[in-house]
Symmetry: D2
Subunit: 252 residues, 4 copies
Amino acid sequence: MNDRIRVAVLGRNGRMGSEAVRAVEDAPDLELVAALGRGDDLQDVVDAGAQVVVDLTVPSATRENVRFAVAHGLHAVVGTTGWHDDALAQLRDQLAEAPGTGVLIAPNFAVGAVLAMKFSELAAAFFDSVEIVELHHPRKLDAPSGTASRTAELVGRSRERAGRGASPDATESDPLGARGADVAGVHVHSVRLQGLVAHQETLLGNTGEQLTLRHDSFDRVSFMTGVLLGVRSVAEHPGLTVGLDGYMDLGL
Amino acid sequence: MNDRIRVAVLGRNGRMGSEAVRAVEDAPDLELVAALGRGDDLQDVVDAGAQVVVDLTVPSATRENVRFAVAHGLHAVVGTTGWHDDALAQLRDQLAEAPGTGVLIAPNFAVGAVLAMKFSELAAAFFDSVEIVELHHPRKLDAPSGTASRTAELVGRSRERAGRGASPDATESDPLGARGADVAGVHVHSVRLQGLVAHQETLLGNTGEQLTLRHDSFDRVSFMTGVLLGVRSVAEHPGLTVGLDGYMDLGL
Amino acid sequence: MNDRIRVAVLGRNGRMGSEAVRAVEDAPDLELVAALGRGDDLQDVVDAGAQVVVDLTVPSATRENVRFAVAHGLHAVVGTTGWHDDALAQLRDQLAEAPGTGVLIAPNFAVGAVLAMKFSELAAAFFDSVEIVELHHPRKLDAPSGTASRTAELVGRSRERAGRGASPDATESDPLGARGADVAGVHVHSVRLQGLVAHQETLLGNTGEQLTLRHDSFDRVSFMTGVLLGVRSVAEHPGLTVGLDGYMDLGL
Amino acid sequence: MNDRIRVAVLGRNGRMGSEAVRAVEDAPDLELVAALGRGDDLQDVVDAGAQVVVDLTVPSATRENVRFAVAHGLHAVVGTTGWHDDALAQLRDQLAEAPGTGVLIAPNFAVGAVLAMKFSELAAAFFDSVEIVELHHPRKLDAPSGTASRTAELVGRSRERAGRGASPDATESDPLGARGADVAGVHVHSVRLQGLVAHQETLLGNTGEQLTLRHDSFDRVSFMTGVLLGVRSVAEHPGLTVGLDGYMDLGL
């Protein structure tokens, strides 16, 4: 088929990269034209005729990879972390000179996690109370999770914009810290349980009603739905997009 | 306070109406200027200087109530059922002649239920599978619930727009009907359990991940959050709005 | 009907007592023969021919009420708090002299809460990880709830008996206390949310599986199921029983 | 270490068998002395000095395997299906002649699933309403699941013993079958969702309260907890035991 999108995967030996190689190969509308590991020559991507580069490498490599792609007119879908404000600003400058080229940088490619976060932010303005419970496997080193902290910050900002104060809370005695962490005015609770992977609930309450938004990530392979969505949509979104929700037509 | 919104409640003796009377009285930014029951004279509402009329009466009365309100330049917030297409068309015509006046007709005033339905519709486009479980007290006469059917229809339409077919399902043997109802291509399951009030879950699944949107309605008083939101916002929304989500600033 | 159980309720004006009056009246196999408030004469209970006394009074009155009942050969079902070890020991002594008489003292009459606690204790011996999440209305003054603390203690003791150590937990960084309280080696998390009443989850995890035991208390009336179970069963359980689970035939 | 239990695994190439080989090798108190596949000689198990045989083969082989084991004084832990009443009766006869030997036949080795089923049975006697929701991946061929049907039967029998009738249900109109299957008088609902593995909820309701018992099986490896429990306990349970709960000290 001539009109399949030609895709190159960078970081083919990593956990995410190897899943991406498989996912692109399995997708009937995509064609894997190159898959590079550490030390391979980026020029191969151009020679193979790639249209979209998927970067799932490491923070020390991702900036140069994306710079190279944009310089050669290739779109990029990036799941690597390490893009701080300076790096984003430089990339925006470069893209201003390459008007048809699109780059998506997404900290999370699980469609459900992205929606849960977005819906939490939207709903938080309409409820008296909001709290977050995140649940992970017991090998996790930090609490709360990065996703829970980001969700709490989005929720906190949304409530501020809506002129809402803190959730009501009459607690006078909590000697052992059962009420958990306070992140941006939102209580966050971290459960660690054998058997779990990565799960999060946003609990919202008004008088007489509750809204619960829960995301379960059972397997890393869930990220691939979002990577493929990115690959298929990046050409229609010139310039820089941060966050997969920018590609999800929520009518927002 | 001079700038409180002056509110009249129609249907003050009904279950919803009596809650609304109490809620308006309790709200510091609202003033209850009239509360009418069956047989009372609508002119009282005008004489009392009401700005917003809340109609929580019965299908046989609501059309005339709203017609009267609009004819006198009063905004209306309507929770009564019975507004079929003809009635809505006539109301739209009347409102075209009353440019500053707003009417909100909402089948459901529970903010959480409205958001759960909206989020279900939005998310359905991004998942392989969607099913709905609704749970109610065992005195309910019909299954599935009206809310579940409406949600399934919105979900079904959303998936059609996104070019998604039916959820995958290899079931070959189901002699007892355990797979539940099919509404607009979406499986709907109805649980009836002592102790429950009204609850609904939309379950969405992709490879490796699940998104769950759950609404619990514990008490009819939950509707008041939405009624008050309507009263406070109706003046800023001239013309006819159907559905509380039209007043919820989701960035839509 | 001659063979209905004749019941007296003490504390008829309290929240629990008034519910109990109604529940006894509504039960076809029970007959309410007396309902006493503060200051009424206990002798009325005897004169009315009561067989079972339900004590839902206050800590300062309950001991004398039960002493009086046992002295007159009446069974007692007690929901009042304030029974410390000394009081229980004295009651046991008194019951040793009244061989046919039964007393049930139960801190919690919600059948589901009692079972959730019992099942948590039983299951805890078979799982690598156990944590508890309790969720209450935001007017609650203390965290964690008494029920959650008691459950954690039962769980902790059960794990000790089974030779199980602490749940695995690699957390190195938790600057804000997201991991919650440690009660008897079990993490307990307290959520406070508008709209909720009293809810609790015990989460248990092994490699590849999770068991969740959740109890929702939507309304105080849930206690009546247990009170009636107590009234109907107390005559078959001579002596002192502490905890409603002593009357629940779990085959345990 | 001399006092490790010496274990032989039959069916080493199957999905369950290969997991069992790994689990026995990883357990410090067990020693894998033999692992047989199709066509291997059972005598190897005896020659290797096995004390416990784990049978995870196929229905056509399991009876002869267990007969051989018992004839040689070896304990057996059996996860293979296909043990109908006749086969069990013959095995009981054989075991009557081999007084010290124990055999465990378990249809389900996931500790959490076994407990969820047992707790459902116990709790069902104390609630007005019980329903079951099972959720599986969409490649499953039959609905409801075997585990859900068995749970419903246990629940139904438990309610019968307690003199409880059907759960209350006023449903008059259910044209699409949303109320699901009726198994032994218990409503069972089957959800099929991409991303899921095997999950089940028993929902129990009384006036004002709900008890939810949920089991999530995320990975087949969850069965190994039960297999190892069986291997470690079989010597202490001479004769035939059907069901892992017979080895779980619930105080039953």
